[in-house]
Symmetry: C2
Subunit: 188 residues, 2 copies
């Protein structure tokens, strides 16, 4: 509540030094992590995550689920000027897994374009579809496969799929190699 | 091999478009991940990781192990102008866990100082000591505890310790709150 005519002359509170403000707690989406400079990953965001997501100052979101967003999420994106790129991939279960090559390729182009950063990649749980897309990013970064799979498994846990890891391994990156992408941070 | 007087007039090869160069593969250290802008985490780096670490253009390393580095690692840091901050914490096993409060506090100050970025935090496996320090960073970022623990567990896996998570929960962040730290990336 803002008190316009308050007699309290204390300076404006720095919200980062107010330990009592319960509304200061940030709730990242399920399986949230930073992939690289300007690229984040997670499961499906809900309204509890909006304050946190706002702090990322996202410019765009890649949604790998086919379902439309709830109204509250669409409104959040609109209110914050965040562009949605939806690449609907069915979240099918093994052995009926079919990660579509062309869809991942189009999503990759969006993810690699720094004009879209900061960007959040998400699916439902942040494990399989997101894990496949991030795995392809790591291949472009020329990570060894054991490290790519280790990262995939860290997020997928007991739900890790050999079929996803095979998809990542066999994905043809030859047409995408001109995209610069690295962890290198400029020394300040 | 560099051919000084070669008649081949083809332009200099872009190493990122040479699919055959086996030496182009990067090997991140065990449990490697990006924590936030300019902060990385991992297990103990070895010589196989040097090319990858070089690509991060690190300015400093926080080592949470008490043991001295092998000569090759010390030489790598020296050759690349990387400053080492060693905060030796014994990698003890439950129930004899004793994460020292003051040591973590000093390590935090180094980690939060952007003058030290890009920075790598590591211990032996990148699970417990590193997980405690990163957990304290998340508390400073005001993440809810369930998300802090979820991240800790993602890296610790079956080796997750309640005692580490209790340490993170009870760690007093009140004296460190003036440090700015967030995921926010400037929109380019």
């Amino acid at each position: 509540m803002k008190l316009e005519n308050c007699n309290d002359v204390s300076p404006p509170q720095d919200t980062h030094s107010n330990a009592d403000a319960a509304d200061e707690i940030f709730v990242p989406p399920l399986n949230f992590a930073m992939v690289d400079n300007g690229i984040f990953r997670s499961g499906f965001p809900d309204s509890a995550n909006f304050r946190f997501l706002k702090s990322l100052r996202l410019r765009s979101v890649i949604c790998l689920c086919p379902e439309p967003y709830p109204d509250s999420t669409s409104e959040f994106l609109k209110a914050n000027g965040i562009r949605l790129y939806q690449f609907g991939i069915d979240g099918c279960k093994e052995p009926f897994v079919n990660i579509p090559n062309d869809t991942i390729r189009e999503a990759l182009k969006v993810a690699l374009d720094v004009k879209n950063h900061p960007l959040l990649i998400h699916c439902k749980r942040g494990k399989h579809r997101t894990g496949c897309l991030v795995g392809c990013i790591r291949r472009l970064q020329r990570w060894c496969l054991s490290s790519v799979f280790d990262e995939y498994q860290r997020f997928a846990g007991a739900k890790a799929r050999v079929s996803d890891q095979r998809f990542i391994e066999l994905f043809d990156i030859s047409g995408l190699k001109h995209h610069p992408l690295s962890f290198s941070c400029s020394r300040k």
